[in-house]
Structure formats: structure tokens, C-alpha cells
Symmetry: C2
């Protein structure tokens, strides 16, 4: 008899993964097999192969990224700030262990360095080996991996980055500090004057107060702030928000031409425009 | 011991509704109570009260509309064609038993008549009584209910409607005819020359071929055709498509000013523009 974590059930000889982090709603995925399953010093890490979404990265029982639609989240958290900046050289990614954001960032020729600060090395190794459709088995020499706490890493940096991407998991456990005012303040100091920061900012449907709280903090610290959205099918409610802040650069997509060889599946010129157009109830 | 349909489970004294129509993915909602549960001659009809989405209309175990986000679907299927038309007088809704589309349609002063053709009277009665946040307990005298088969109803109509909304359930069981070429052809004859038709056209994530097939049929029959999208959290994958066809009216949102007293929660001027801006992989 195999031992599975509590979010894996065997039903009639078939394996199911159930996300049970939200007490009032559960989403279950039928699995072909479990490819990787290990406890790191930080969290429980799984890579599973599912029928509907292909391979999935699952941290502490919560789906983070999948073959089928991991690109939506990663393209949106990376190409929106990099398109707005237009000539970013140095990029910092905090979190982003699936390597998808780093993979998108190195599509820009003007990007000369990407610092990838991920607290959990085992996530990166597992995704490089078992989730290549998302990680791209990233081996670009511009990317430097730092297996460290993001809060400590950023505290030493001043006026250094053109774009900072906070690609965290949910604000519970290891990621909770990445949603605090003091952390966003350090991000501001680490950015150059024309720098742009972006963070994933949770679900406008289930966490409206949290979305608003993140926006208020960033608006308070930065000169310009805005929220944009995308549909991410494996995140609760399918509706996801990102919050962007800049010290001097106006957040306007009107005259922005995106780089034409990004080879994306979701992001494009029209998505860059439309992602800032929010539903009536989401207006801030 | 109460008898529940197979999609309702009692777990540790609590009721859960599980959508099990998609073999590889299941979504479960924790329920406060079951408000209405009855088998009509067409289908099994339930109104339940859930923790995350409030009251829900459930047909044959599939969630159709909810307190929390039923407005997104209903606003998008109604206000996009009615905004594009600008001065629609006569509107036909086929399906739409939750009454939400009819409720949105009568927000236009220039609309003088709405024919609501729903095959299952029990759905309308249940929603009027138990799902008022969606149905608005619709009693506008411009709305005339016809409890008939939509295919038969439309066969008698020629050059009569300004806007036709096909607000069907999934293409299984009673709704399957509403996705056929011959039906869209009758829709075309029933429309005036400057008329606009729209249908819900399923999930671009899970039913890409179906979405494409619907678009191809409408493109073949009508002069102009386009697909637009919205995030509908309780539909599979959260990502939903609508397909629109017109006989003469160009489908362009550029010079369209929406009516300013629509009192919507999702639709607005920006959403009208952005809903036609499709992700790279959805381009047709």
C-alpha cells in the first residue's frame, strides 16, 4: 500500500488530486501518474501527470503551474512589465521556481541578466527535470539562480534592477512576507528610477480585500500603480490579478509596440491593451 | 434517509454538489442547503445555496448560474449585441431560463418586446421564485414567455428580430439542436437585415474544436462573425466564449458608446472593447 499525501486519493484504482485549501470549494484532477513527490525543507513538492492539464507542479497540495496553461500566468507576469519598460537590462525574479517567468524574460535581447531568487532549490530542480514545457529546461547563461530568501536578498540591493517580478505562491506559509508593505518598500529601493515592479496579486473574486490591500500598498509607495488581469484556469475562480508599480514610467499601453518574436500562446499586442481594462466591479 | 441525485453527497453531515460531467476534472461546492429539487419533463432542476457562490441553478447536475457571478455571463451575452446594434427594438432569447438575459435586455428603453423561448417552464418558475438575484423576479411587461422548443419557434419567424440571443446549456441533451447549422440558418432568416445574433459557444480551453466549429458555421452563414470572451468562474476552466454574427452591421466597437445607466457589475465600455481581443492561441 503506497503512502500518499492527504491531497491524493485513490478511487476505484485511479489517482485523483484534490485541492482542498479552500474550505467551501474543491477542485479534483484525475491523474495518470505521480512523477515526483518529495518533502523539501520548505514544503511538499509534487509533479503529477493529469488527464486534463498534462503535467502539474503541486506545492503543499496546491496546483502552481501546468503543461496546458502554465504559460498564461508566466507570460502575463513577465511580458506586461517588460513590454512597458521597453529596454530592461537587469531583471529580478523573486519566487518563480517553475522557471517559466525566467524563460519568458530571456526572450528579450536587451535583457543582459536575470537574477532568480527562489527559496526552494528542489522546486527548480524538479521543474527543470520534470516540467520542461513550463521551465524550458532553462539553461540560458544570463540567468543566475540564488537559492535564498527573497526578503534577505532584496535588502542588500539598491538602484539595481529595471524590472522586478514577484512571482510568489499564495500568502500563506513561506510566501507571506512577500505581500508585506516593508517588502514592497525594499523592492522600490532595489529598482532603478525608471524601473517597474509587478506581483501576482491573487483572485479578484475570492480575495477582493487582499487585491485591494496590495494595490493600496503599491499605490502608496510608487508614483504609478495599476491592476491587470488574466484568466488562469487552474487558479481559484479562473480569474487572476497582477499589480504593477513604477517610480517614474507612466503605465500606459497606448504607444507600446511589443517585441515581435516572443512566440507566446496567450500574450499579444491586444492582450497587453485589454488586460488593464477591468470589469465594473473590479474598478479601484 | 433523504434521497439525493448522484451529484449531491453528504460528507460528515455536510452537503456537497459535485459537477462530474467532465470525466477528468471535478468541481465540488459546499452547500448550506437545497432550496428546490425537482425533475421536470426535460431535466433535473435544483436551486441550492452554496457557501462560495450563494444560490445556484443546477440542471442535471451542472451549475448554470449563481448569485455571485451569474451576472457576468448574462451581461456579456446581452449587452455586447445590444450595444453593437444601438437601437434594437425586438429581441428574441432562446433558452435563458434563469431570466438573466431578459432582465438585462429590458434595461434598454428602445427595446419594445422580448420574446423568451424556454423549453422548460419549471426552470423559469424556479428561478423567478428562488434565484431573484439573477432573474430579478422579472415582471417587465415587454417580456413575453413562450414555453416551447426554440427550433420550432424560430422556424415560423422571418425578418422579425433586431437581436437574437441563443442562451443555451451545453450541447448535450435538450440543447444539442441549438448548435446545428440548420438552426443558425433559421436564426439568420428570423433576423432583420441589420440584425445581430449571438450564442454562448463553450470553453476555448476544453472545447477548442467546438468553438472553432461554431465560428465556422456562423462565418459561413453571416456576413460578419467574431468571437468574444469573458471569465465565468463556475464554467469549466473559467474561460468562456461567445460567437456573434451579423447580416450587414460591421462588428466594430470603436465608435460604440454604451448606454450609461445599465447598472452592470462586469460589463462596461472597456469590457466591450477588450472582450474581442483574444489570446494568441484563440485567434481564429
Amino acid at each position: 500500500m503506497k503512502q500518499y499525501p492527504e491531497w491524493i486519493q485513490e478511487v476505484n484504482g485511479e489517482l485523483w488530486l484534490t485541492e482542498n485549501d479552500r474550505g467551501n470549494m474543491q477542485v479534483s484532477y484525475r491523474l495518470k501518474k505521480i512523477i515526483f513527490s518529495k518533502e523539501s525543507s520548505i514544503q511538499h513538492i509534487m509533479i503529477v501527470d493529469s488527464y486534463d492539464f498534462g503535467r502539474m507542479l503541486v506545492l503543499d497540495g496546491v496546483v502552481q503551474s501546468t503543461d496546458r496553461e502554465g504559460h498564461i500566468y508566466n507570460e502575463m507576469i513577465t511580458h506586461v512589465p517588460l513590454s512597458l519598460h521597453q529596454h530592461a537590462k537587469k531583471v529580478l525574479i523573486i519566487g518563480g521556481g517553475d522557471c517559466g517567468a525566467a524563460r519568458e524574460a530571456v526572450k528579450y535581447k536587451h535583457v543582459t541578466a536575470v537574477d532568480m531568487v527562489e527559496i526552494d532549490e528542489m522546486v527548480v530542480q524538479a521543474c527543470k527535470e520534470h516540467l520542461p514545457s513550463v521551465s524550458g529546461n532553462l539553461a540560458d547563461e544570463r540567468v543566475q539562480f540564488h537559492y535564498r530568501d527573497g526578503v534577505q536578498f532584496i535588502a542588500e540591493k539598491r538602484n539595481e534592477y529595471d524590472v522586478i517580478i514577484i512571482d510568489s505562491s499564495d500568502p500563506v506559509g513561506p510566501a507571506i512576507q512577500l505581500f508585506e508593505y516593508g517588502f514592497y518598500e525594499q523592492i522600490k529601493y532595489a529598482l532603478k528610477d525608471d524601473g517597474i515592479m509587478v506581483c501576482q496579486s491573487q483572485s479578484p473574486l475570492f480575495q477582493q480585500e487582499l487585491v485591494k490591500g496590495i494595490y493600496e500598498k503599491i499605490k502608496d509607495l510608487f508614483t504609478h500603480a495599476a491592476v491587470y488581469q488574466a484568466t488562469v484556469p487552474t487558479y481559484p475562480g479562473g480569474f487572476w490579478s497582477f499589480t504593477i508599480g513604477t517610480k517614474t514610467t507612466p503605465i500606459t499601453t497606448e504607444h507600446i509596440q511589443i517585441q515581435d518574436d516572443l512566440q507566446t500562446n496567450y500574450f499579444n499586442q491586444n492582450i497587453l491593451r485589454s488586460c488593464f481594462m477591468l470589469p465594473e466591479a473590479m474598478k479601484l
